[in-house]
Each structure stands twice: as structure tokens, then as C-alpha cells.
Symmetry: C2
Subunit: 203 residues, 2 copies
Amino acid sequence: MQETVDYNAWFNRKKAFLRRLKKDMETGYFDKELETLILLLNGFNDVFTTSSCSGRIMVFSSKRPWDRKSIKVYLKSHDPISVGNLEKILEVSDDKNLWFVLQPPIFHVSCLTPTRAQELLKIARNIGFKHSGIISFARTGIVVELRSNEHLEVPLRLYGKFIYRKSSLKSLVKWANKLLLDSKKKIFKLETEIRKNWLKSGR
Amino acid sequence: MQETVDYNAWFNRKKAFLRRLKKDMETGYFDKELETLILLLNGFNDVFTTSSCSGRIMVFSSKRPWDRKSIKVYLKSHDPISVGNLEKILEVSDDKNLWFVLQPPIFHVSCLTPTRAQELLKIARNIGFKHSGIISFARTGIVVELRSNEHLEVPLRLYGKFIYRKSSLKSLVKWANKLLLDSKKKIFKLETEIRKNWLKSGR
């Protein structure tokens, strides 16, 4: 690559991220479903994780589902939700646009070497983290984004009007909950594959 | 990278892809909106494009919106659609699940060198191709996937039942058409940025 990773710069970042991770785990802020995988990855001496999400359902108002400016979040859940949760939001929302979004598991992993980044990418894509890729190179590391493909972007309100059948919210919630749980199984699959491929060759 | 790109293998692939591209353009199969960008990219001696889509609206039945097995496509349009198009489909569909999907512009570009791949990635991500990354390395090239972020995955039928308000289809179509046109503007932005960054430094 154009820039070579500087070991000291990379390792200093790893130490800082491990400190943050430890704090997040102690305060209970950290998502339990990710714990084993995240600890496994950070145990390799040429890898560390920077951010991660185990997949979630969100309901929020914003102009478009990927706009984060002037976003108003009504619901953010890493677990299945109930249709009651959604109905309550719809009763109070008078937003122009309101979105129901399912986001898949996503991880950012900083690798010390291009070889490691490439290996990780291959393992992840093979088990269905189909939207994965190397997203940046810098002196401080090669960052791989691992992203599974379960996602929904559904408008509930558009142009100030409710556009979903109220009687159908149950189906939508049931479906989204199912996809959420399916996507979470892939976290364990990823963990299994990494163990199988990387532990046999030592750290 | 682990594997070094072999110039002859890469160049043979480039020649094959250029032949296919020429044929697609002659038969009118090729998407006109992409022509200038694709010709620009292929004009660089360390780059070629393998596949591309300028963004589209699709309506199809399949278990989940990313399943391609036993998919039944009702509509695939690179241009804005009318609500009439959609209504006709809903009259005939008795599918278990039916999806309305907006896909953003997407390009696969094979680069000869890691530096070029990295430059392309940086330019693309900066102008809003937010889901871009290097997706593979091989003897035959380093493949960058450029993917913009406009997308919708909306269930129209779930569990065998129509779940969208019929009176709201117009809003959904209007919104999707707007996003489709917004996403297409980014193709020209990408072209402009590549010209600005790469032509000044020569080919």
C-alpha cells in the first residue's frame, strides 16, 4: 500500500481502544452478544477492534434513512421489539418522515498487515458478511469493515402522512425480529470461522 | 498484499472486459448514464471496470430482499417509475413476500496497484459512495466496489398479505424516484472528481 503501517502508532491506538473497551465492558455499556468475538479478535497481536454493533432495529425521523443530521430517535433496540413499542411511537409522531430500519451486525477491525486484513475479509465474505471491504489504509492501521447483509429501510411516514397499514405493523415487526435474530447467528459463525482458521496457525 | 498482481494476467482480463463492454455498447445493452464515467475509467492504463449499475428500482418476490434463489422479478427500472406500474403488479401478485427495492449506483473496478485502488476508494467515499471498499485481491487484480448509500428495502407483501396502504403507493413511488435521481447525480460527481484528481497527474 501507499502508506506502510507504523507499528508504534498502530500499537498505541490498540492500547487506547483496549482501555476504552475495558471501560465499556465494566460499565455494562458493551453489547453482550459481541463479547466473545471481540475478545477473540483483540487477542491476536496484529488485530484490534475499533467499533462494533450486533445488529439493531431503529425507529427515527430524519429526511432520509441515512441522514444523521436533525435525527430524532424513538427506538433503538439490539433485541426483538414488540408491536406495542411501534404503535406507541406512531401515536405521538407527527414527523414529516419516519423510518423503520433494521441494521445488520457491523464491525470495524484495524489490522497491522495487509495479509491479515485480506484473510479477515475472505472469511467474513464467505459466511455472508457480504458488504464487507477494506475501507481505509493509514499509518495507524488497515481498517476492515465487516457488514452482514440483513437490512430493511422502510418508510412509515412520508410527506407528513402515515403510509403503512396499522393492521400490518405486526407482520413488519415479526419479520424484522426474525431477520435480527438470523443476523445475530452470523456473529457466532464468524467467531467459529476465525477460531478455525487463525488459532490453528497460532497467534 | 499477500498476492502480487501479475501484469499479464491483469491485462488479459482488461482486454476481455473491454471487448465485452464494446459489444454491450454496440447492442444498446449498456446503461447510457454510465458511459462517460466507464470510458474515462477504462482509459487509465492501470484500471478497468468489470460490472456496473447506475441505480435502479426493483419489485420482486423472494423470501428475503437479498435472496436471489427462486426470485421472480416483476419490475426492474433504471428510470423513475409510475404508480401505475406498481398497481398492476399488486393486482396480479399472490406471492408470499413481495419487495420494493431501490438499489444505488454500484461499480466494480479492477486496479493494477494498491495505490490506485486506495486513491479510488478515497475519492469515492469522500463524495458519498459511503459503502465502498476493496473486496478482493488476486493475481488478476485488486477489486474495488464503489457503492453509494441511497437504498430502500420495503416489504409490500409479507406472510401472503398486502401490508402497504394502497393510497400510499404514490408517496412511496414519488420518494423512491427522487432518491433514484439524487443517486444518479453522484455518478457525475464521481466522474468530475476522477477527472480533477487523476487527469492533472497524467495517465
